[in-house]
């Protein structure tokens, strides 16, 4: 596929993709159980709860307990999805995830909505920009950050088939739907456009911004390779190295702190293999604040224009 094949078919929040995915799982997999800490509506669990009330656990506002219960549910063959906002699903319960889930090798799926700046007006208390870093540091933890409704739905279904702990990160805002309705393959990067001048590695909501940027840059005559890194861990190292071997420079775009996220991982990978100029489109070691998602993307430098500028800058650094 190439840029022109990614046609926008509608607009929906990625969390609704999760809601649709878990509803489908409810029908197809009797072991799937959902847990939530008083945010069922925000996590789009209403349909699942209505259809499968016996497989839903309302834990109340007690996230540590939720993670532990999820770990216990795996003993006996259940596939629990522990759900809440990304901040409360990671930072608040890091030690519970570390000991009861990751170290104990439990088949728990942590499904986290409202990640990043784009939850908007609730502000920095809720806008976690460190969650990818926290989760990917845990041995054995799979970290997935899908980019639109279709990919989030497909990822939700895929992680239930995978045996092992997973952190599935998605968001609140209504966002363009542009990915095909296709099977999600954990750990397999998607080359959305082939090019030879520069590679843009993008994850989550920034895939859309990068798609817009790539279209603009191609219109200006550049040849841009765009790669959708939906799985941050395990990283598709082969795809990344193959692309940079060709383009000799890259931009990483993510709705996360520039420290500890996808950018750090790709920088480390390149440094260990084929060093190349790299620029980040990410939050510059900062907390967020209250505003609309669009205003925040602009203020914190996560917009289409920022991707365009980063591409030009990194190309200028090529030898």
């Amino acid at each position: 596929m190439a840029l022109q094949d990614y046609v926008t078919t509608g607009n929906k929040d990625t969390r609704s993709g999760f809601g649709a995915g878990i509803l489908e799982l409810g029908k197809t997999n009797p072991n799937v159980v959902a847990l939530c800490a008083d945010l069922a509506g925000s996590l789009k669990l209403d349909d699942f709860i209505k259809a499968f009330p016996e497989r839903y656990v309302q834990v109340g506002i007690a996230e540590a307990n939720m993670i532990g219960i999820a770990a216990g549910l795996t003993i006996g063959g259940k596939i629990p999805f522990a759900t809440t906002f990304a901040n409360f699903a990671t930072g608040r319960v890091y030690d519970q995830i570390r000991q009861s889930v990751a170290y104990s090798k439990k088949n728990v799926k942590i499904a986290a909505s409202h990640a990043g700046l784009t939850l908007g007006e609730d502000g920095a208390t809720h806008q976690i920009l460190e969650d990818i870093g926290l989760m990917q540091m845990l041995p054995g933890m799979v970290v997935i950050n899908p980019c639109d409704y279709n990919q989030t739905k497909a990822a939700t279904i895929a992680v239930a088939e995978y045996v092992g702990p997973v952190y599935l990160r998605f968001g609140r805002p209504v966002w363009p739907i542009f990915m095909p309705d296709e099977k999600f393959v954990i750990g397999k990067a998607i080359v959305m456009n082939e090019g030879k001048d520069v590679t843009i590695f993008a994850t989550g909501h920034l895939v859309w911004k990068s798609l817009e940027a790539a279209r603009q840059l191609e219109a200006e005559g550049l040849s841009v390779e765009l790669i959708n890194i939906h799985t941050i861990k395990p990283l598709d190292e082969e795809a990344i190295l193959r692309s940079v071997a060709k383009t000799k420079c890259a931009v990483v775009a993510e709705e996360h702190n520039r420290i500890g996220g996808l950018g750090s991982s790709i920088a480390s990978l390149l440094a260990h293999n084929t060093p190349a100029p790299l620029e980040y489109v990410a939050v510059n070691d900062h907390f967020g604040e209250s505003a609309t998602p669009a205003q925040l993307m602009t203020k914190y430098g996560l917009d289409t224009v920022n991707v365009v500028e980063a591409v030009k800058k990194v190309m200028g650094r090529k030898g």
């Binding site: 159980v33 016996e54 497989r55 656990v57 834990v59 109340g60 007690a62 540590a64 307990n65 939720m66 993670i67 532990g68 219960i69 999820a70 770990a71 216990g72 549910l73 795996t74 003993i75 006996g76 063959g77 259940k78 629990p80 030690d95 519970q96 570390r98 000991q99 009861s100 170290y103 104990s104 090798k105 439990k106």
Partner: protein, 285 residues
């Protein structure tokens, strides 16, 4: 089912194992281990319906979760004597490349262990999850047991779980607290008191049994049988088990310093002299 005499014999050997294990590596937690020995022996040799041919899911059998993971020496010894692995493996406790880790772990696949513990406060939640899984697996009527420290009960997550279990009618669960009134920095009453724990548990909706002498084998077996008879009635069951930290070794009894101090060679000899070797000592590593 073992007789009380047999249980006491096993307990004596388990206590010997505990002392020898922590002495051998000059680290570990003898105090709580010795205090909970009678409970653990009664649980595994008299009460639980369990299978030494270990499976992680434990379908159709009773499960046990140790939440105060630091007292794992007692658990390891009990598991070994119950046939989960050879007692000789106890000699690898806390050593490089061992399955017998400093705190319980699943990563090395030691049979009998279903969750890591060590960071306090997490086991009740995990046990609740396992109990809910049994309910979802409709034919599984077995029981989930946990053990906690009383210092551990200062952790907030415990209270989240205490609130959850009665609300959700998790009645296939028996939680026990090692009520020794000791923790690292001193008496629980002094460090941070639970005040009237029994009243709190009642108020939270638990069915509470109090065992005044949790180091008396008759009392503990009776309490465990009583607790079992109270399961399946819509409420979770709680055992407030008064014990003596360091029980069985006179100079360790009721001394919080023995929470996590290993006896030296001389102290070990003095301790072992008080504990008859009943089943044979495991071979030192």
């Amino acid at each position: 089912m073992a007789s009380v005499e047999e249980l006491k014999n096993i307990a004596s050997q388990v206590r010997r194992d505990i002392v020898r294990m922590v002495n051998a590596v000059n680290s570990g937690h003898p105090g709580g281990s010795l205090g909970c020995t009678d409970f653990m022996v009664a649980l595994y040799f008299n009460q639980m319906n369990h299978n030494k041919n270990f499976t992680m899911d434990g379908l159709g059998e009773d499960l046990f979760f140790l939440s105060n993971g630091h007292i794992c020496p007692v658990w390891y010894s009990v598991l070994a004597h119950a046939g989960y692995f050879e007692p000789s493996e106890l000699a690898t406790f806390r050593k490089l490349n061992s399955r017998v880790q400093g705190h319980p772990a699943t990563a090395e696949h030691l049979p009998g262990i279903r969750s890591a513990a060590g960071s306090l406060g997490q086991g009740l939640s995990v046990a609740i999850g396992a109990a809910l899984a049994k309910k979802l697996n409709k034919e599984d009527k077995s029981i989930v047991y946990t053990l906690h420290g009383d210092g551990e009960f200062q952790e907030g997550q415990i209270w989240e779980a205490l609130m959850f279990a009665p609300h959700h009618k998790v009645d296939n669960l028996i939680a026990t607290i090692d009520y020794n009134n000791k923790q690292i920095d001193g008496d629980v009453d002094q460090v941070l008191s639970h005040r009237d724990l029994k009243a709190k548990l009642h108020e939270f909706g638990w069915d509470v049994i109090e065992v005044l002498d949790g180091n008396n084998m008759e009392a503990i077996t009776a309490a465990l049988a009583d607790a079992k008879s109270r399961t399946g009635k819509g409420v979770p069951v709680f055992i407030m088990m008064h014990t003596v930290m360091g029980k069985g070794v006179d100079f360790m009894e009721n001394e919080h310093k023995w929470h996590g101090t290993a006896p030296n060679a001389e102290q070990t000899a003095a301790a072992l002299a008080q504990l008859p070797e009943t089943l044979g000592d495991y071979k030192a590593g």
